[in-house]
Symmetry: C2
Subunit: 107 residues, 2 copies
């Protein structure tokens, strides 16, 4: 079972969705804009999965057209710290990795 | 570029390989045993990628048959903390997620 959860959190789209929700509720289309390269279908599937897992809450507003907001649940919020730690790691190591790739390719 | 690195660290096989190397050098076949479901080809590709990125070091021992050890580099070691934070999160939340799924499926 924990392997299954790791497959979930070890998925890049999960990481980007959790990070995109860190400041509070976001509409579907706004999330699509923020997450480069994710298709409508992939975002829909991932959001439904995260909702089922209790990490994301979906709120439908009866406006015309209807508005749907997504936000982190309390449990979803506890995933932010490890996710943002990965984002911070990526930010601070991208130059080191770029250098390592140049050296590897030249070797 | 940082998106590219996040695609790397947001990949489940990367997570499992980094975690499998947390205690020190491991041989290829031993790693395959530890990482459930990874194919020889996928492990080879991922290890070569991590070596190129400067996160994993490969050591060839001229024994017969030749022995190959993989271990985290210093930079690879700095990725352990965020990776293990995700593993810890998964361990402590698997029951909550299981419960959320039961409720979602019943709704």
């Amino acid at each position: 079972m924990v392997r299954e959860i790791l497959d979930l959190v070890g998925d890049k789209w999960t990481l980007y969705i959790i990070a995109a929700l860190k400041e509070g509720p976001v509409r579907f289309n706004e999330m699509r804009r923020r997450i480069d390269g994710i298709s409508q279908r992939m975002l829909t599937i991932n959001l439904r999965g995260l909702e089922r897992d209790g990490l994301v809450k979906r709120t439908l507003f009866p406006t015309i057209p209807p508005r749907v907001d997504y936000e982190l649940t309390e449990m979803g919020g506890t995933l932010l710290a490890p996710v943002m730690a990965l984002v911070t790691w990526a930010n601070s190591n991208q130059e080191n990795i770029r250098g390592a790739r140049v050296r590897y390719d030249a070797s």
